[in-house]
């Protein structure tokens, strides 16, 4: 590909790239918490709920983001209720697996019965970054700005509840409310971005940058910052690679996000 042609293609992908970067900011940040809390399957279940909600919205002909938001809210409420009721007899990962399978199956059923196109099984998995509009980017930018405000306000509270939920509860912190706010923020960004980035890229943003950053970083802030930098760099590198070698954008970003992992492992072993 010649330089001029490359630049022309780059201008064509500026909105997809912006949406990828905007999605990567909150998801990689959330990923640090979720990896440390061993809750990555919660995030992928929420992403699946968002996809299923979007598929249901296509089937019933209303705004996909509202469908995604509704399904995510229902799943968060069900999981919170299950926790409050003492968790029952099944392990948490089994319960999340059950949710994941049902939501995935339901999403495919909705799509198979949807007359109008716009969302299919491939989009479920990889998203449709190339179909992004400036309005999509604007809405996602608004959500990211809101989450920045929430997390600047609640940074220390989220850390305290993550580190020691029992003491936080005993000392009178509204732990359930803080947890709800945390997952509502995650659900919101997934609902708004899922149709564009799909389940796989959502999961990649949530897991891969955090996994690499915890090896590179030695302090809380540096781990958060590194996760975000890795996610943004992976988004840019993956998008550019997809243009250069004509690859699917979402999949290329996933692979670019995985690249720092072996380096991080080597770094961690040398530091120990």
């Amino acid at each position: 590909m010649m330089g001029g042609e490359f630049l022309e293609t780059l201008s064509f992908v500026k909105w997809p790239l912006l949406v990828a970067v905007l999605s990567s900011l909150p998801l990689s940040y959330y990923g640090v918490y979720l990896v440390e809390r061993r809750m990555v399957f919660v995030s992928v279940t929420l992403a699946q709920a968002a996809v299923c909600g979007a598929a249901a919205a296509f089937f019933f002909s209303f705004e996909p983001r509202l469908g995604a938001l509704a399904f995510v809210a229902v799943v968060i409420a069900l999981l919170a209720g299950w926790h409050r009721a003492g968790r029952g007899s099944l392990p948490e990962d089994t319960v999340l697996g059950i949710f994941y399978v049902i939501l995935g199956g339901l999403a495919v059923v909705f799509l198979s019965k949807t007359v109008q196109g716009g969302l299919d099984e491939t989009t479920l998995l990889f998203g449709s970054l190339l179909g992004v509009t400036p309005a999509d980017a604007g809405l996602l930018g608004g959500v990211v700005a809101l989450l920045v405000v929430v997390h600047l306000w609640g940074y220390r509270r989220f850390l305290a509840v993550t580190f020691d939920p029992e003491t936080s509860a005993v000392l009178g912190m509204p732990v359930s409310g803080i947890e709800l706010l945390f997952f509502a923020g995650l659900g919101l960004v997934l609902s708004v971005a899922i149709a564009q980035i799909g389940v796989l890229l959502s999961f990649a943003y949530l897991v891969l940058p955090a996994a690499a950053a915890r090896s590179f970083g030695s302090r809380t802030r540096s781990v958060f910052l590194l996760a975000v930098i890795i996610a943004v760099a992976g988004s840019v590198a993956g998008t550019l690679a997809s243009i250069r070698w004509d690859l699917p954008t979402g999949a290329a970003i996933c692979l670019a996000l995985a690249l720092p992992l072996p380096i991080a492992e080597i770094w961690r072993h040398r530091r120990l």
Binding site: L159, T162, D164, P165, T167, V170, G172, R219, T220
Partner: protein
């Protein structure tokens, strides 16, 4: 007469069914309570009810207004993989206070100032426990609650923790020590609360009273011994081959 900090009247504790069904108990300022019983007896549940983190199934719990609490949880309930420094751990324990003291001041008080910049996750079990106690003390508490503070720590740390509790009691801090190890109930413990939620049994009151109570032996069955340490009666378990006085 010392101020009553907690008053429980006809309280039932538990989650769905009561572990202890009718509890009457008063805790006054400056007392040192040893709360003990077998694993699963409801000790931590009792503390949650006492502090208002869990509603009692029945009865009323009155707490003195403006009470400042410090809580040391069981070490295994903490997510220690977070890359927090010791200083951050201390500071996160006082988020609700308007003017918390400087973390360094608290760390100096427990001889941990040199560790302020260390990562909590890099510390040994004993060092982590000392940091968690410092975190609770950072709140300058009226009441300090310690949940199995010597679980999984080495013997020197166990002595450090025990010594620290005695020192704090001497300074007038009200202490509630939860343990399943009789060996932890040292001579400085002024009041006993023994409970066994599996049998809906409990005994509570001043040390001397409880040790004289015929119900104690009845509750424990054979094997309980009372020995004198520095002129004070101390509960111990007749040699069970374990040597640690674990409540069975």
């Amino acid at each position: 007469m010392a101020e009553t900090l907690f008053q429980l009247e006809g309280v039932a504790i538990g989650y769905r069914r009561p572990l202890i069904s009718s509890l009457v108990l008063g805790i006054a300022r400056g007392e040192f309570w040893g709360i003990f019983g077998p694993n699963g007896a409801g000790k931590t549940t009792f503390i949650k009810v006492l502090l208002g983190a869990l509603k009692p199934l029945a009865g009323t719990v009155r707490r003195a207004p403006g009470l400042r609490l410090g809580y040391v949880p069981q070490l295994n309930s903490v997510r220690d993989s977070l890359p927090l420094t010791v200083r951050q751990v201390i500071e996160l324990g006082a988020l609700d206070l308007r003017n918390p003291p400087a973390a360094t001041e608290t760390l100096e008080r427990v001889n941990l100032a040199h560790m302020a910049k260390e990562r909590f996750s890099d510390l040994s079990g004993g060092q982590r426990q000392r940091v968690m106690i410092a975190r609770a003390l950072h709140r300058r508490p009226d009441v300090l609650i310690l949940d199995e503070p010597t679980n999984g720590v080495d013997i020197p740390t166990r002595h450090t923790v025990t010594g620290l509790m005695a020192r704090l009691h001497g300074e007038g801090v009200t202490l509630l020590l939860i343990t399943h190890l009789l060996a932890e109930i040292g001579p400085e413990v002024s009041h006993f609360f023994w409970l066994d939620g599996r049998r809906d049994l409990c005994l509570a009151g001043p040390r001397e009273e409880i040790l004289k109570s015929p119900k104690l032996e009845e509750a424990y069955g054979a094997g309980l011994r009372i020995i004198n340490v520095d002129g004070k009666p101390v509960l111990t378990w007749a040699d069970n081959g374990q040597g640690n006085g674990e409540v069975q």
